[in-house]
């Protein structure tokens, strides 16, 4: 009954969004597919009068790249670790913020501040915190100007300074820094979303629980999480989509070399590969890589959606 009547209405409501999407999103995607199947396509060379044959050479060239698997590995690792960690932390912070009285205004304001912090500043501060400035680190001729705040703290507690991001550092150390950075970077957004979601939960549920004398833990597990589950699902799914497109955070810490000195591109990701191709005006390669990335994210998202359909309480 509701269905037949609301069908045309639904399309009416959706029409402004769909028209704009067709022009500014769907059309570029079609164009991306076209470029992906034109072998070695370059927009500038096309203007210069070169023609391109149709084929799958772009795809084979992407896959045959020696470091393709490395790019994929870094991308997946970062994604699989940072999304759950940042989501859980953000959930905890949001719930805590929501349940305190004194100081709550001040703390909320503080958690808003990252939004007005320039993104360049965020990258700079990270480099400064983990950067060991010096020469011949780890050898007999070692000279260290400064070991960075994080190492100062580690040494203060009696630990050994770690070479996090500099020449001679390990992949594991690099990844640790990236994971901390990405989680940190993602937190404010997730807190904001989850806080908004928490506020949409009717207070009466909590009041009822209070009357029943339900414990905090139980309230959290039985009321907060289920009622907030649509927002949690959102945070996780978009987190994965964003995570697979990780690039700028790595540039933020390591610069355009995407790795410590002496190990360029060690932390390169799929999107990093796409950027490199675009900067040499090889849109064919970039498009093919984007479609491969698309296929991967699509698969993950389908799994996510399937899981959330079972677990999310609507």
């Amino acid at each position: 009954m509701v269905e037949s009547k609301s069908s045309w209405k639904a399309w009416l409501y959706l029409s402004p969004a769909l028209v704009l999407l067709l022009i500014f999103t769907v059309w570029p995607i079609i164009n991306t597919v076209r470029m992906a199947f034109l072998e070695n396509y370059s927009g500038l060379e096309a203007i210069g009068g070169r023609s391109f044959s149709i084929g799958i050479a772009n795809f084979t060239k992407v896959i045959s790249y020696k470091k393709f698997l490395d790019c994929l590995k870094t991308t997946v690792l970062l994604c699989v670790i940072t999304v759950p960690v940042s989501s859980i932390l953000a959930l905890l912070i949001a719930v805590c913020l929501n349940s305190i009285k004194p100081l709550s205004r001040m703390l909320q304001t503080i958690f808003f501040l990252p939004y007005v912090t320039n993104s360049i500043a965020i990258g700079m501060v990270f480099a400064a915190m983990f950067n060991i400035i010096g020469n011949n680190i780890g050898s007999e001729n070692e000279i260290i100007t400064t070991a960075g705040i994080i190492n100062n703290i580690i040494e203060f507690f009696g630990g050994h300074a770690v070479n996090w991001i500099n020449a001679g550092s390990t992949y594991a150390a690099n990844m640790t820094v990236m994971i901390i950075y990405i989680v940190w970077n993602a937190l404010p957004f997730k807190i904001l979303i989850l806080l908004g979601g928490l506020q949409s939960i009717n207070k009466q549920y909590y009041e009822a629980a209070k009357v029943d004398g339900t414990s905090r833990k139980r309230i959290f597990a039985r009321i907060t999480v289920p009622l907030l589950s649509p927002m949690i699902a959102y945070v996780v799914i978009t987190g994965f989509i964003g995570g697979f497109k990780e690039y700028s955070s790595i540039v933020g810490v390591f610069g355009k070399t995407m790795g410590p000195a002496g190990a360029d591109k060690r932390l390169n990701t799929m999107v990093g590969y796409i950027y490199d191709s675009l900067s040499l005006n090889r849109q064919g390669l970039a498009s093919a890589a984007a479609l491969i990335l698309f296929a991967i994210i699509l698969l993950v998202t389908l799994v996510n959606l399937y899981v959330s359909k079972k677990k999310v309480h609507y």
């Binding site: 999407l21 991306t32 904001l192 506020q199 207070k203 649509p230 697979f244 479609l291 609507y314």
Partner: protein
């Protein structure tokens, strides 16, 4: 006697329990605050760094060992930032583009999210999955095609070229849909029975309930206008249409092509102040949440 003893013992027990409960409660509170304050410090660090850098001389900024407070506090950076870039014009443009695109975007997002959350129609799930899929392709690939489109329409150097291409965000439609889904469907069906029209229901029930999320979207959208760089730099050449990031980044390039970061940071901090005030103001609405009791869940 025995019974009395028992009673007193029981009372003591009770007291003990309540004392323990109190202690636990206080401990929980302390842990809570400790956790929040620690996280707050971590989250705040870049903000502090921005202010710290904005007050340094370029020479001090380039030192090997970063200083935690400038040796010489350079308030001049702020004065220079204010004088160098045409801040007034840039600020106006950014506000204009930000506000117009936020309002239009909110309307489109609300309508679409409503359709996806509450209406039934053929192909809904496929369409929704399709929309989600568009988020998965890196947006940088769209730039050239979209540039071709707006150029063919003669839209270069205008406000609309800064606003229209980014009005729809699947990201926000999805977010709001999720929020709408948090609202029990029974409310909608009840309204249907009462003969309330969709739009009225949307306006009277859904929007107030989803207000915190709508405000989050507003903030994110405004910040988008504040931070966008690549697209505005490509499609606007005239000073008249320049946005804040373009003006800021470009004004402080040193002769060697390096950026004078301290001055740039000062400029960023300067233009963030009004934004910050707006956020403080909006925060109240997010935190107020849905305290209205007229709506039954």
């Amino acid at each position: 006697m025995k019974i009395d003893e028992n009673i007193t013992m029981h009372q003591q027990d009770m007291q003990k329990v309540s004392v323990r409960q109190k202690v636990v409660k206080i401990l929980v509170q302390v842990a809570l605050y400790a956790f929040l304050i620690l996280m707050a410090i971590i989250v705040l660090f870049p903000f502090y760094w921005m202010i710290n850098s904005s007050l340094k001389t370029l020479d001090e900024y380039r030192l090997s060992v970063p200083t935690f407070w400038p040796h010489v506090v350079m308030w001049e950076n702020y004065v220079n930032a204010f004088n160098t870039a045409n801040l007034g014009r840039l600020f106006f443009n950014t506000m204009y583009v930000g506000i117009v695109s936020t309002i239009l975007s909110l309307v489109i997002t609300v309508l679409s999210a409503f359709a996806f959350a509450r209406l039934e129609f053929k192909g809904k799930n496929i369409l929704f999955a399709g929309l989600l899929a568009t988020m998965m392709i890196p947006g940088e690939l769209f730039t050239i095609t979209n540039y071709g489109t707006v150029s063919a329409w003669g839209w270069l150097d205008s406000y609309r070229v800064l606003i229209v291409p980014f009005l729809v965000s699947v990201f926000y439609i999805y977010l709001l849909r999720q929020n709408f889904l948090q609202i029990p469907n029974e409310l909608y069906l009840a309204a249907k029975v009462d003969g309330t029209s969709d739009l009225k229901y949307l306006w009277k029930v859904m929007i107030p309930l989803a207000l915190p999320t709508l405000i989050s979207i507003t903030i994110l959208k405004m910040m988008g206008a504040w931070n966008s760089y690549v697209w505005p730099n490509l499609v606007t050449r005239k000073e008249k249409y320049r946005l804040i990031t373009n003006g800021l980044r470009n004004a402080f390039t040193e002769t060697t092509g390096d950026v004078n970061y301290p001055q740039q940071m000062a400029a960023v901090a300067l233009v963030s102040i009004p934004l910050f005030l707006v956020f403080i103001f909006l925060r109240k609405y997010i935190m107020k949440g849905v305290s209205r009791s007229g709506i039954k869940g």
